[in-house]
């Protein structure tokens, strides 16, 4: 066993973690890079007792969305609010999403890999190092995304975006819009 590798007891049930404002107060440029944290702080500022999150006094949460993705649309098949500090999402290609507020103001955006593309890179002959791949494009696939838990979020739109050439503008193809509501 290498240094740093522990055979420690399990962490056990995960209770609420105190909301840490520290990383939400970075300088503007740093804060822009930390969109998740900004959103979390925004929620902390604006939530005032009207929602389940605020009532519990715990804004240190995010929502796990389970999505079904087809060629023409993305639909939500499950949504679970979980504890934990929201973390930033690295940019990348795949299924993009954009969250907007009731007055259509931008709230948050992110992306996840396209689950309809099922692939594996492997060696022609195991051990040879020379690679090939097997890729299947499915009619439908499932994707899990994490979005901020904030009452500001009222709609989420899914879309594909790709840049057909180095100097060409990105093409955006909508995959549907879903209304986010709270019980």
């Amino acid at each position: 066993m290498e240094p740093g590798v522990l055979a420690s007891p399990p962490p056990g049930p995960r209770g609420p973690v105190p909301f840490v404002k520290l990383t939400n107060q970075l300088d503007a440029r740093s804060a822009r890079k930390r969109a998740w944290r900004v959103l979390a702080r925004l929620a902390l500022t604006l939530v005032s007792g009207g929602s389940a999150v605020a009532a519990g006094g715990d804004t240190n949460r995010f929502v796990v969305l389970e999505l079904k993705v087809t060629a023409s649309e993305v639909s939500v098949v499950g949504a679970t609010e979980v504890a934990g500090p929201p973390k930033p999402q690295p940019p990348g290609a795949g299924i993009n999403f954009e969250i907007r507020s009731g007055d259509n103001a931008f709230v948050f955006s992110g992306q996840g890999p396209n689950p309809r593309v099922q692939s594996l890179c492997y060696e022609h002959l195991p051990g040879s190092g020379q690679m090939t791949n097997s890729t299947v494009t499915l009619e439908e696939g499932y994707l899990t995304l994490k979005i901020p838990s904030t009452p500001l979020a009222t709609t989420i739109e899914f879309f594909e975006s790709r840049r057909p050439g180095p100097s060409l503008q990105s093409l955006r193809r909508s995959l549907g819009k879903t209304v986010l509501t709270r019980p």
């Binding site: 066993m1 522990l6 055979a7 973690v17 520290l22 107060q25 890079k33 690295p90 890179c121 879903t178």
Partner: protein
């Protein structure tokens, strides 16, 4: 459910949780999650989660060892080895009724927790869980993964299913699968390049219909000054770069990438994104490091937490930032006080009373990873900054007004003016021993006081600031 329908997005999804709890193959004799690698709070680290597939209850200890070995395997190659402390790893152990995985062509069918199978979609090596071409039920495979993650480690960043089968195989994507074949760790590292950093394949095996979008390590650009990794190309290296012994160690523009033998280029002749058993090239390492910092910042906490402090003259104040640390060095810390860079390069700073001027003072800290593995960082992933404003008010300015002697030797009087929190008003009959009359604040107005009886005659009052 149609996307345009209104949904209850913040409700609790019970179906999978119930299915999970009722599953006859769960073994809860030991808590299912254990720590494999611990380097900090989950909110401040990148969390790798391993799940067991095809391990019976008796084999779960072996799974934990396999998870540990896989974690070590992933984190012992550059650049991950230098950032090992940025990662946590956990193992979620769920028992299967039978060992291994399905091999449909040979009639092998195993009763396993996530119902994994080789030969998915007609490819022998493609090892997947449902929904797939053999089982269309999301709840039988990926749904179980998500339910377990929600329950035990919702802050996952990388998810790997370790399949207890020695046949060569695996799958990429959001939830990777790896088998126990000897080559599996190397495939996992390659797939991690895709899923963690969005790296593209650099090999040339055709993939008809694959989108033409460039990745950080692939391009069709042949203009040296426009190549996205130009910072790594030495002036004497020809562009495009011919493959050969003289350029084998160089970063350049090598033709053949993105499933095309011509017209697409890669940064180096050899790289893990092209050939297994080699290292990640410089450009891929740079992308991976930036991907690490896109998830966790260089400043992870600060003190004081308030960015605006009100002090009075003659006060000092300390500042502190919490930073992650690569294995072999510290991040570069630079403090600036009122626009002047300080010599302090630690994570703690004490500004003395003599330095803080009356008025607004600005303290800024910049934390940067100046690793040589990154030469271009236009998104500034490797740098964060924090600024505090410290407003210093003048010292106490108090006046004693309308003193009136009482018959018992005491005095009632009025104190008017401004004083900060912590100021004191004291009385003395001998200028040597002073008795507190007031120790509170801040004061902005007036208060009426009566001194206690002092031995001897009352001779004086004074105010002092205690901060």
């Amino acid at each position: 459910m149609h996307a345009r329908e209104s949904i209850t997005a913040f409700g609790t999804k019970l179906l999978l949780a119930v299915a999970l709890l009722l599953s006859p193959v769960c073994s809860w004799a030991q808590p299912p999650i254990s720590t494999v690698l611990s380097n900090g709070p989950t909110g401040k680290r990148i969390n790798i989660v391993f799940l067991s597939e095809g391990y019976t209850a008796d084999e779960l200890e072996q799974f934990r060892r396999d998870a540990t070995n896989t974690a070590n395997s992933l984190l012992t190659v550059a650049p991950f080895d230098g950032y090992r402390g940025y990662f946590n790893a956990y193992a979620i152990a769920v028992a299967s009724v039978e060992s291994g995985s399905d091999h449909p062509s040979t009639g092998i069918a195993r009763n396993t927790y996530f119902k994994s199978t080789y030969e998915s979609y007609g490819t022998a090596q493609l090892l997947t869980i449902p929904p797939n071409n053999r089982d269309s039920s999301y709840a039988n495979g990926q749904g179980k993964v998500t339910a377990l993650l929600n329950q035990f480690m919702p802050e996952w960043d990388v998810v790997v299913l370790v399949v207890n089968d020695t046949e060569y195989g695996g799958a990429g994507g959001q939830f990777m699968t790896v088998s126990k074949h000897a080559s599996a760790p190397e495939i996992a590292r390659h797939e991690l390049g895709h899923s963690f950093a969005g790296l593209g394949d650099e090999y040339s095996t055709p993939y008809p219909g694959y989108p033409n979008s460039e990745e950080p390590n692939t391009t069709r650009e042949t203009n040296r000054n426009a190549v996205k990794w130009k910072a790594w190309i030495d002036p004497e290296t020809p562009v495009p770069t011919p493959a050969g012994s003289t350029t084998a160690a160089s970063v350049g523009l090598f033709e053949g990438a993105h499933y095309n033998a011509t017209g697409w280029y890669r940064p180096k002749n050899s790289c893990k994104m092209r050939t297994l058993g080699t290292t990640y090239c410089e450009v891929c390492q740079e992308t991976l490091v930036k991907s690490i910092y896109s998830r966790i910042g260089t400043i992870q906490g600060q003190a004081p937490t308030s960015l605006l402090a009100n002090l009075v003259a003659a006060s000092s104040r300390s500042f502190q930032v919490e930073t992650p640390a690569p294995q072999d060095r510290s991040l570069k810390v630079r403090w600036t006080f009122n626009g002047t860079q300080l010599t302090n390069t630690t994570t703690n700073l004490l500004i003395g009373a003599a330095q803080l001027a009356v008025g607004t003072n600005t303290i800024r800290v910049d934390v940067t990873d100046d690793t040589t593995m990154v030469r271009s960082d236009p998104s500034d992933y490797l740098h964060d900054s924090q600024t505090w404003k410290v407003v210093v008010a003048p010292g106490a300015q108090l006046r004693l007004l309308a003193p009136t002697l009482l018959g018992d030797g005491r005095m009632v009087f009025n104190v008017s003016g401004r004083a900060p929190s912590g100021f004191q008003i004291q009385a003395s009959a001998n200028f040597a021993t002073w008795t507190n009359l007031v120790s509170s604040g801040p004061l902005d107005g007036s208060i009426t006081l009566t001194n206690p009886l002092l031995p001897g005659s009352l001779v004086g009052f004074r105010t002092i600031a205690t901060q």
